[in-house]
Symmetry: C2
Subunit: 484 residues, 2 copies
């Protein structure tokens, strides 16, 4: 491993302003959205084309330097945490929208394009890009692909994986390769599906082809106030059980509402122990019929106040409280952990009750803001780092919540990814044989473990443990392309 | 490679009635739905449990005997064509529906379960299983997973890959491993997506967890008659462009109609140069509104007769013509090739015109019966093997149609798979580097190329070419599990 050698090599590929080696500037890249892990990268590289990106990765491979890809750095699981002896390859300069083709329902994007820009470019044609992480004003499409990002409207529309039809990637050896394409389905192995959500461990996306979705004819949104989360959870189950598929069903509990009120004065109904935001979209005839049913289900399960957005401004106000909730929690607590787990919708009341008990047992507060419709919880565990023992207790509650999710047949992450943060938890969901099967793919693509090492998988054993030993059957080498 | 050794080994695993070695009985397995390739298998094995299946594969690995999995044998690309020196592992005895869980919208199935049985078991609970190949009365779920099967209603509901959330598989080394699970999304690599559609080259599914879909409140179906396929194609484009997503849009041309009339007397409108079957399903309010729009689009694009199904019996009659069309072609031609390709919907008129020209140039007839809504063509190239040169000319037209699909940015297969039949065509769609990337996965799972060799990929070079040389980093071996 030679950072010096890499530095010389990239000087022949990039202009000086695309290479950062100054310690003070390197420090600005020391973490992503999960700020409690910090590592200053060895070098930061900012390629501006796919070819430059490939050349940079080839240089890393040639000097056996580990590399980490970073988009906008908004990830919440530390997936873009740098490597101290490695290169951080930032894709933000690859930011062209190459094509918007409404007649094919496709857009072709460079990875640094901001999520919201895709919809902004498509709306004039009557289309939008469906996956909408809360960070959509700043997060990048490349990062969305790496993390298989979700969002409030993924209940109806699905995750990033459901909206990407093709990618061009740089492999860990520095080759440019296409996975998938423009067609909805392609023969051969669906490596595209495996790449989406691989969190930078199989290579770096340099071009992303996404599906555009028709703008719905109508959108209708309501805010329903309940005395507690049990009632709101039961209303959610009733809506889904009736076969209605809302675009979004979001829940906030009393503590989350308190935080949002303090931060953005969203004016939610006073005295609510929980609120639901339910949004329906689609053909007007369908939405109108189903909206009436949703109102009935909410009332039938104890909603004491239901507000229906009269216009876009009121709709935006309902969402403002929800979308600001994570940041708002900072108003009521000096520190907090954003947890991310999934449970079957039907287990919502039990699991929320148990989270409340866990909080009381450990003497910390937990605010719940989450995608109720698909059982994707986001408990915010509040604590004060300054008080001895609180961080540890918060960490314990946060871990116990994941156990709870797995116990109920759910998952340790819904949309934030595994990254650095949850690699240790992966064995809670998978047997050793299951994890070994995933390692087969990792070792095939990246036998030396240079692509985002230390992320996703709990222990970088096997091919990663003894660098260079497990070269394996790599067709690129068969073709006479030497890497190092 | 030792078939004798394998025979002795499986005698310790299976009962005598689960092992077929008699030449006459072996012959009944010599082909699948693509009957023009025939190979008598070396041995046929019929495991009854996942553990038996794993033990059988382990025995194959131990004796270096190639193996091919087979479900019901209805595949149309020769994916289940046996290996003369290998084992054919038939999964039809693994036929239990393990669980139907409407509250979780899941069913857990053994691979030999028949596609239609899943809906039959779910309908009493208000659910159905959406992917519906034409062979759904006989094809198996395991085969559907291998081929990522589609069907008429995949326009709205998606392919098999969109409905499988987890599989248990036997790896080519004979280990039982889980990919995915019950949750809609899972952390780590999405190997499930790569497994679905891998056509038996990565292992054998021994349990499949599928998503169940709510039965729609309403289904409405119409049959529209046009003077030609141009008009019917334009109507299809107009419907989709308006943002309507029908459950199905199926087209038949004059020759296909003639064949269907001869076979099942479906009574389609006289003088039609093309018919469309359009089916809408969903909430009644939505369906009623959109159905009126569909009728208008058909009339606006020249439909001279539109019949609306008054009840289930009439609806069944509309579908009878379509569903019998492939077999019906046997009434008007002694031999025919069923082609399967995809084009962007917008290219339908151009491509159909060109197919007509190709047919005339080569002096053969082509009947078109296809999923117009998603551009998935099924040209039936008619010929008479008894007449010198006809088979070759039919083959030439069939190949030219694939070129046409690729030229228009489409795919060489929509839902029938690559199998034996189209392996040679794969380089029309993928560069050498793209194919090599797929080989990375194949070599990681199956370095000796024992799982369904000769299928999907054009030339079994690289790790498969020199058996045993490219062992590569296989974690199972790291764990001390010796295979041979």
């Amino acid at each position: 491993m030679s950072l010096t050698g890499l530095r010389d090599a990239v000087a022949a590929i990039l202009r000086p302003d695309q290479i950062i080696t100054d310690r003070a500037r390197l420090r600005t890249y020391e973490c992503d959205g999960l700020a409690h892990y910090r590592v200053v990268p060895g070098i930061v590289l900012l390629p501006r084309t796919a070819e430059e990106c490939a050349a940079v990765v080839r240089a890393c491979a040639g000097h056996a330097v580990p590399f980490v890809a970073r988009g906008s750095g908004t990830g919440l699981s530390g997936g873009a945490l740098p490597h101290a002896e490695g290169a951080l390859i930032v894709t933000s300069q690859l930011r062209a929208i190459r094509e918007v083709a409404p007649e094919d329902e496709r857009a072709v994007l460079e990875p640094g394009v901001i999520n919201l820009q895709v919809s902004q470019a498509s709306i004039p044609h009557g289309y939008f890009y469906a996956p909408d992480p809360s960070s959509q004003q700043i997060c990048s499409i490349g990062g969305n692909v790496a993390e298989n990002s979700g969002g409030a409207h993924c209940l109806k529309y699905g995750f990033t994986a459901n909206h990407v039809t093709g990618v061009q990637i740089v492999t860990p050896d520095g080759d440019l390769v296409n996975l998938g394409g423009r067609a909805p389905d392609a023969p051969g192995y669906d490596l595209l599906g495996a790449f989406v959500g691989s969190e930078g461990t199989l290579g770096i996306a340099t071009e992303v082809t996404v599906r555009l979705v028709r703008l719905p004819e109508t959108v209708r949104t309501l805010l329903a106030a309940f005395t507690g989360t049990d009632e709101a959870g039961a209303a959610t189950s009733a809506i889904i059980a009736a076969g209605v598929v809302p675009a979004a069903v979001e829940m906030m509990d009393a503590l989350a509402i308190e935080a949002a009120e303090a931060a953005v004065h969203c004016g939610y109904p006073a005295g609510a122990g929980a609120v639901l935001i339910v949004e329906l979209d689609g053909p007007a005839a369908e939405v109108d019929a189903q909206f009436a049913a949703v109102v009935d289900f909410c009332r039938g399960h104890g909603a004491f106040e239901i507000r229906i957005a009269a216009d876009d401004a009121e709709r935006a106000l309902f969402w403002k409280g929800r979308k600001s909730a994570f940041a708002a929690v900072g108003r009521i607590s000096p520190d907090y952990i954003v947890q991310d787990g999934v449970i079957p919708r039907t287990a919502l009341p039990q699991v929320l009750t148990r989270i409340g008990e866990l909080a009381r047992e450990h003497g910390v507060r937990v605010a719940n803001v989450f995608h109720a419709g698909d059982g994707n919880l986001h408990p915010l565990v509040l604590f004060d780092e300054a008080q001895a023992g609180q961080a540890e207790r918060a960490e314990a509650v946060s871990g116990a919540i994941l156990d709870l999710c797995v116990e109920h047949g759910g998952s340790i992450t819904g949309e934030h990814g595994v990254g650095m943060d949850k690699a240790k938890h992966l064995p809670r969901m998978y047997s050793e044989a299951d994890l070994d099967t995933m390692q087969l793919l990792r070792c095939a693509f990246d036998p030396r473990g240079l692509a985002n090492p230390g992320k996703v998988f709990p222990t970088p054993r096997l091919c990663g443990e003894v660098p260079g030993r497990h070269r394996g059957p790599n067709p690129w080498h068969e073709r006479g392309m030497e890497v190092f």
